[in-house]
């Protein structure tokens, strides 16, 4: 009986196996290539979709730790990459730092050389570089004596620009007296100095005056004007004495109290360090016919420089200058009056 059952089971299995093998061969023979549009192809795609859907949750269970380990591995790789990148960036930063220092040095050198040799704000304005040979700074006057005079074309009211490596170029003052080979410059901090200026950012016009102090004072700026600490103050060109756009200083403090009336009380830090300046650039006037036509056309607002005074003036002695400064009858006082008149106009 048992043998019969075993035989039946074996024959059943043999039949099943034969059927399975035949079915497999049939499928192999008829099965199309993947993606082909036929009945078996569509059936295969459907079966594949069902298999993936069915096996998905089971696989996800096993894939989670594998994915987590992959994530950890990738994170460790990321750290290594970041470390390498950090090292690379540090090297790059070191290189850029050295380049920055070089660039700064070159910039300063270029600035100094341009100022000394080649810088010409306007084609129509010639300039003379002079060395300061005397400094008459006292409680009542701040003036420099330079080694360039009438022989070099320097005339009264010529604009003097200071040259320092630290601050570059900026307005130093103006020539008030000349001799054959020397000229006297009234500097900005001098009590008699008045310069028409404007604030570069807001274009508010004003007058910068000296107080015999390191800081300058800005006058005639109405309360409510658009001014800020740090604004650059440049010459306005009004009056024709100073060319437009020369840096004068930066606003350091602004006060508006009842005592100041309708105006602000503004302190300006000069661009030029008057204690360290050694050379000056003197802007000389040029005859109109000396200016080439094409250059004259290119100039939008050429600075109007007054005609040179040909009268030979001797350099005043210290006693004369002190007398003149205190009396206010001659020289600087006269220029100050002219500036104020122009400004008011």
């Amino acid at each position: 009986m048992t043998a019969v059952i075993v035989l039946k089971q074996q024959s059943r299995q043999t039949v099943l196996a034969s059927l399975a093998l035949l079915a497999a061969l049939l499928l192999l023979t008829l099965s199309p290539t993947a993606g082909s549009n036929s009945f078996l192809g569509n059936g295969r795609d459907l079966l594949q979709e069902l298999a993936l859907d069915g096996i998905g949750p089971l696989l996800r269970l096993f894939q989670t730790p594998i994915a987590a380990s992959h994530s950890v591995y990738e994170r460790i790789q990321g750290w290594q990459r970041i470390e390498q990148e950090n090292h690379k960036l540090k090297l790059e930063l070191d290189r850029l730092r050295s380049l920055g220092v070089q660039a700064e040095e070159l910039s300063l050198e270029n600035q100094r050389l341009r100022l000394l040799l080649g810088m010409r704000p306007h084609a129509s304005v010639q300039e003379v570089v002079a060395r300061i040979i005397g400094n008459s700074s006292s409680a009542f006057a701040r003036s420099f004596l330079v080694d360039a005079g009438q022989e070099e074309g320097v005339a009264p009211d010529a604009t003097a620009l200071g040259i320092t490596a630290q601050s570059g170029g900026g307005l130093l003052g103006r020539v008030i007296q000349t001799s054959q080979h020397t000229a006297l410059i009234l500097t900005l901090p001098d009590f008699n100095s008045r310069v028409p200026v404007l604030i570069q950012r807001s274009r508010v016009r004003a007058i910068v005056s000296g107080r015999n102090k390191p800081l300058l004072e800005m006058e005639f700026v109405p309360k409510g004007s658009d001014i800020r600490v740090g604004d650059l103050v440049v010459t306005s060109g009004v009056g024709g004495v100073f060319p437009k756009g020369i840096p004068v200083g930066r606003i350091q403090a602004i006060a508006a109290t009842e005592e100041t009336g309708l105006f602000h009380l503004i302190s300006v830090q000069p661009v030029i360090d008057f204690d360290r300046v050694e050379e000056v650039r003197l802007l000389l006037q040029t005859e109109p016919d000396e200016v080439p036509n094409e250059v004259a056309e290119d100039q939008a607002t050429p600075p109007k420089i007054p005609a040179p005074k040909t009268s030979s003036q001797k350099i005043p002695t210290a006693e004369e200058r002190r007398r003149r400064d205190t009396s206010g009858q001659h020289g600087a006082n006269g220029h100050r009056t002219a500036d104020i008149q122009v400004t008011q106009r």
């Binding site: 299995q13 099943l16 196996a17 399975a20 093998l21 079915a23 497999a24 061969l25 049939l26 499928l27 192999l28 023979t29 099965s31 993947a34 078996l40 295969r44 079966l47 594949q48 298999a51 993936l52 096996i55 089971l58 696989l59 096993f62 894939q63 594998i66």
Partner: protein
């Protein structure tokens, strides 16, 4: 008590499908989990190891229709010609069934060469079928990679199946 009885029924129903589940798991791992960028010729045939084990020790749970279906699943997921693995795995199942009684008494170590032989036979069958029916010819050196990988992974997979067999299928 009733609750425990319900749990027992449910557990016995699930446990009956454990061999099938391990085979499905083997298909999933060998066809989907192992990265595609891995050298495909060294991808082990975990299904072959599984059906070898279950057909030897629990033939009642590793039937011909199940192996045929698993073979079709492999074909479907791997993208090979439909019926290729179904045929080769069913054929191997017949061979294992034929010599199963003798093999069951052997030590596991002695079964390893037989697993290698089964894997080689599987590869040969597939190559012959593909060349005869589809005109696709394989290269022997490449066909040898999979049996070798199967042989190397067999102890680990066998151990896992033994653990599942004893602790889940028999004791629960």
């Amino acid at each position: 008590m009733t609750t425990l009885g319900e749990y027992t029924v449910i557990a016995s129903l699930i446990i009956a499908w454990i061999p099938a589940l391990t085979l499905i798991l083997a298909v999933g791992i060998q066809e989907l989990v192992i990265p595609l960028e891995a050298w495909s010729v060294f991808r082990p045939d975990l299904v072959l190891i599984g059906l070898f084990y279950w057909r030897l020790y629990r033939p009642d749970r590793c039937t011909i229709p199940l192996v045929f279906a698993i073979g079709l699943l492999v074909d479907t997921l791997s993208g090979t010609a439909l019926g290729l693995n179904a045929f080769s795995k069913t054929f191997l199942l017949l061979l294992i069934s034929r010599f199963g009684r003798r093999l069951r008494v052997m030590e596991f170590v002695y079964l390893l060469p037989l697993i290698l032989a089964a894997a080689l036979l599987d590869a040969t069958l597939q190559m012959v079928l593909m060349s005869l029916l589809k005109g696709v010819y394989g290269r022997w050196p490449l066909l040898l990679g999979r049996p070798v990988a199967t042989l190397l992974i067999a102890p680990l997979w066998f151990s896992l199946l033994i653990y599942i067999h004893h602790w889940w299928l028999e004791k629960v």
